[in-house]
Symmetry: C2
Subunit: 315 residues, 2 copies
């Protein structure tokens, strides 16, 4: 699992993620974390880096806490040459509160800061990336970032309800350019008007991508691909194991994409196995605040959790 | 899969189901079925009989349609010696309507009829049954039926919200007598006060049983057992495949129990594999009204669907 020792995949090229770096404040019924490191790209990179090197493209303000930078820099295998610090800018900040069942949350505040200004640029050194994950932002921005990675063999985008509402046409255009999309079941239903996750995924393929991953939170995920359908339950976590669900979806995506980077494969079977790695990474994320769960797990913990999941979910 | 040709299991003994035989009227957004054969024992037996012989204990009124009897009698491997026809009684009848998303339903009417009177008796010829499934009814009635099958090596009960509300103590008593319970996620949450399906199942083991199967409908099921946890997604059915979800849970239980009867095993691994057979049977049930889906599937259809499910759900 140590990518430095892993056989060089080579056939798809390096993994790049674009997305937010954020300052998160999270309340749960039993605990609270103030101004901790968060954001889609941070969560993604923390998970992905456990399996394969990952390049990060994002932007922070000059208010970004030094200890957050130290945390990201401390992650083995995360290349931060695409992290721009914008003078005079404010870092993206988000506050949320989980309700008693830990499955519903309220957003308390969102301060876009630098994320509302010009998007980050992909450095020339990253232009040869072969696997691209476009974290959630305006689909026109995602399309601009995609154009900066012309050699991407597999480009996958995340999205959210907001863009389905206010940038529907740009999102549909983006879908005609990417190979895959990752979204929640409620977002898939919103985008397609179809509640059934498999049928919604199928409908999305009509917009152009080769596959759609529909995430169902505690109920797992469905992969609808031109070559088949795969379905995976979530890790059967007991209530006591769930500390903070924030970032579960982003680390799912990180584990998923990094498995492809590590194996050098992007076929249906590789994507199906990648679902399990996404599941394993998400199971660590929910067990602690911020990136801590996925970052502090040892190699042995990861291997054990994967084997445990395979045992639980064997059919 | 033809149980007549299957190696004799022997070590657990014959499978017996107790439950309702009903006359169902079902409306869906696109179709309607009037006064068709339904009821938990009918659905269970139709599914179970595809894998192993099954003995049915239930009661109908003398208004029971001859064509319903013919349908049940036409199922290979269902022993109807425990089906009592009560003179002057009315057969249990149920009417329900599915809403547009096929996941929510309204009960339009419930006419208990003979189900409200004295419960059926287990015939002496069935007293040697080794596997017992107690379909949903008052837990005191379930306990009475259990006492009539003294050699049961594995007794499993179904229940519902009504009994959690009005017969909580009797239900807790029943749980101390059975080996397993099968219930919906909302029922498990209601019974235990814990929403997380794994934790709720764990809590239920505290009442005595060796295992709990928490069903999550389109999201699959979780088995919480003293020896481990297993989780299975539902068959990834497209919207167009879902004609009528009625009976899915009962046929899930039928496939689950019949796999144990067929293999003669009741250990954790056998229960885990049994979840997949329950899933396969439920996938046929939802594809047609009444028992038709599970009854008309050929041996080849069953084997093909099982292989397809194993492919979709491989981790």
């Amino acid at each position: 699992m140590t990518h430095s020792n892993a056989p060089s995949a080579g056939s798809v090229g390096p993994l790049l993620v674009t997305g937010t770096i954020g300052i998160d404040t999270v309340e749960t019924p039993s605990a609270r974390a103030d101004r901790v490191l968060g954001g889609s790209a941070a969560y993604f990179a923390a998970a992905a880096s456990r399996l394969a090197p990952v390049r990060l493209v994002g932007v922070v303000g000059d208010d970004w806490p030094a200890q957050h930078r130290a945390l990201l820099e401390g992650l083995h295998g995360v290349d931060l040459r695409g992290l721009e610090t914008r003078a005079g800018g404010k870092t993206f900040a988000w506050g949320g509160k989980y309700l008693l069942n830990m499955n519903e949350r309220e957003t308390l505040f969102t301060e876009l800061g630098v994320v509302a200004d010009a998007p980050p640029q992909v450095p020339a050194a990253f232009a040869d990336s072969g696997l691209l994950f476009l974290g959630n932002t305006h689909p026109a921005v995602q399309a601009g970032l995609l154009a900066q990675v012309p050699r991407a063999k597999l480009a996958v985008a995340d999205t959210m309800d907001l863009w389905i509402n206010v940038a529907h046409d740009e999102l549909v255009h983006l879908l005609s350019k990417v190979d895959g999309i990752v979204l929640n079941d409620s977002e898939a239903a919103h985008l397609t008007g179809v509640r059934n996750a498999v049928s919604a995924g199928r409908r999305i393929l009509g917009y152009g991508p080769t596959f759609a991953v529909v995430k169902k939170g505690e109920h797992g995920a469905v992969l609808v691909h031109r070559d088949g359908v795969a379905v995976v339950p979530a890790f059967p976590a007991e209530e006591s194991m769930v500390v903070d669900p924030t970032g579960a979806g982003d680390t799912f995506a990180g584990g998923f994409m990094a498995h492809l980077a590590r194996t050098g494969r992007t076929d249906f079977e590789a994507l199906q196995q990648a679902l399990s790695w996404g599941t394993v990474m998400a199971s660590f994320t929910i067990s602690a605040f911020s990136l801590e769960g996925v970052a502090r797990a040892t190699e042995a913990d990861l291997a054990r959790r994967y084997a445990e999941f395979a045992r639980h979910a064997r059919v």
